[in-house]
């Protein structure tokens, strides 16, 4: 399971993919041949040939939980940066509070960070998000960092194993948005360790034995009082 990605073939834009199957995501067909549209890895499943990009911006999907930042207010909505090509409006009907017209600033102000869900996406790339669901809320305290959205699965780990390990060793609360924004809350030395571990996962996402190395790193940093091990 570890390093499964590493043995997969890396392809570049325009590279022919010599696998049989129907064109899936991240590939295109010309003269009956399949080509990659991305710098990515080939992933063939259920008869479809896909290329999973190794980098790029977050493209919202309905149902994704994302961490966003309020960047503007309007009388009936907030404008939220969810690290996608487009800003997402959060309408007053999509929050768990009853907001009077023009009173949005009382509930969420510019610079606030929220955990939200993508409620809809249209073909133009426009996105709507909601806070009306259990667990969605304004995030308070803690720290946020950003990683490539394509490395989110790696940070979460199989069945949440990686993120659980980070939590167990550091005592931090961690929430990984599908959009690559990660919220970490807990003792500062724990947060510093978590950030270093996440950077390590990000940089070595395609390697074998990553879980073991992260574990080793966390062991070394366990109980560090000042989190400064250089």
């Amino acid at each position: 399971m570890e390093g499964k990605i590493a043995i997969r073939k890396i392809v570049v834009p325009g590279e022919e993919i010599d696998e049989k199957g129907k064109p899936g995501n991240g590939v295109f067909v010309e003269n009956g041949k399949l080509y990659s549209a991305y710098l990515g890895i080939v992933d063939t499943r259920a008869g479809y040939v896909n290329v999973i990009p190794l980098s790029g911006c977050y493209i919202p999907k309905k149902g994704d939980k994302v961490i966003g930042k309020i960047i503007d207010l309007a009388p009936m909505n907030w404008v939220v940066d969810i690290n996608a090509p487009y800003y997402a409006p959060l309408h007053v009907n999509d929050v768990p509070w009853r907001v009077e017209f023009g009173d949005t600033g009382r509930y969420l102000s510019i610079g606030d960070v929220i955990l939200a869900k993508v409620s809809n996406v249209n073909e133009l790339g426009q996105v709507w998000i909601t806070l009306k669901e259990q667990g969605l809320r304004k995030l308070e305290g803690g720290h946020i960092i950003k990683i490539s959205p394509f490395k989110v699965p790696r940070v979460i780990g199989k069945g949440g194993s990686m993120i659980q390990m980070l939590k167990d060793y550091t005592g931090c609360r961690i929430y990984v948005g599908q959009n690559g924004i990660i919220w970490i809350s807990g003792p500062p030395e724990g947060i510093i360790t978590v950030i270093k571990a996440i950077r390590m996962i990000e940089n070595e996402a395609h390697t074998y034995g990553l879980t073991d190395r992260v574990k080793e790193f966390l062991e070394e940093n366990r109980g560090e009082s000042n989190g400064n091990e250089e």
Partner: protein, 245 residues
């Protein structure tokens, strides 16, 4: 082009002043993902050229009136550092930089699946840190790498390469002296898979045979440069394995 000179650019053995054969490229080095803040980046050393390209986006295009409802706009900015040339260049874009930015933008847009990101812009910054002739083609080569690194969907990479004429000989990849004292320069950008030409300029004086020879030479060299691009892109991810300490 066209400056008169007594310098002999091709010697009696048919070698150029830097010792190259007519169809030989200068040494080229490429590295992908070198900047922290950009969404994608690349560094290309090509002869004495040192060029960084960075990509930001796609992001909602601003100001709003530049947005296109059905596609992303591609905005490349070619810029030379003041210390990149012998005579200090005044900072900021001159007419040449404006023109090059335009043709480079168009060349890059030709491979990008722009329809995937309506109303956005993809910004490409090409910074020439040291110039040694052929900056636009080296810049395009770097920009193509930075776009791939930024995860922008494209139907091909783009390879820049120039050929020209010096001392009545068609040569590949002109160096600075050849550019200054030669007879013609043909900068090109080529899609390596389909062989489509995404950028083509020419100045100087060439016969039809010379021009076609030059273009074929550049297109042939593009294959080699493309291999280097592919290797540089893949190396970024393989390097991450090796650097594990």
């Amino acid at each position: 082009m066209g400056m008169k000179s007594d310098i002999k650019l091709i010697d009696d053995n048919g070698l150029r002043i830097d010792g190259r054969l007519p169809n030989q490229l200068r040494p080229i080095k490429m590295e992908v993902g070198i900047l922290k803040r950009a969404d994608g980046s690349a560094f290309v050393e090509w002869g004495g050229n040192k060029i960084i390209a960075a990509v930001y986006g796609p992001n909602e295009a601003y100001p709003k009136h530049v947005q296109e409802a059905d596609k992303a706009i591609v905005r490349a900015r070619y810029n030379m550092a003041p210390f990149s040339v012998d005579e200090r260049k005044r900072p900021g874009p001159d007419r040449r930089a404006v023109e090059l930015s335009k043709v480079i933008s168009e060349a890059l847009e030709s491979v990008i699946f722009v329809e995937k990101y309506p109303r956005t812009s993809i910004d490409v910054y090409i910074e020439v840190l040291q110039a040694d002739a052929g900056t636009r083609v080296a810049g395009i080569t770097a920009a193509s790498l930075a776009l791939a690194d930024a995860g922008i969907p494209m139907r091909d990479l783009i390879v820049g390469c120039a050929a020209g004429k010096v001392d009545d000989v068609v040569v590949l990849d002109l160096n600075k002296e050849e550019d200054n004292f030669g007879q013609a320069d043909v900068p090109m950008a080529i899609m390596p898979r389909t062989k489509e030409i995404a950028l083509l300029q020419m100045d100087g004086d060439m016969t039809y045979e010379e021009l076609t020879t030059a273009m074929e030479m550049a297109m042939d060299a593009a294959k080699k440069i493309h291999e280097m691009q592919v290797e540089a892109l893949k190396r970024k991810y393989i390097k991450e394995v090796d650097e594990d300490d």
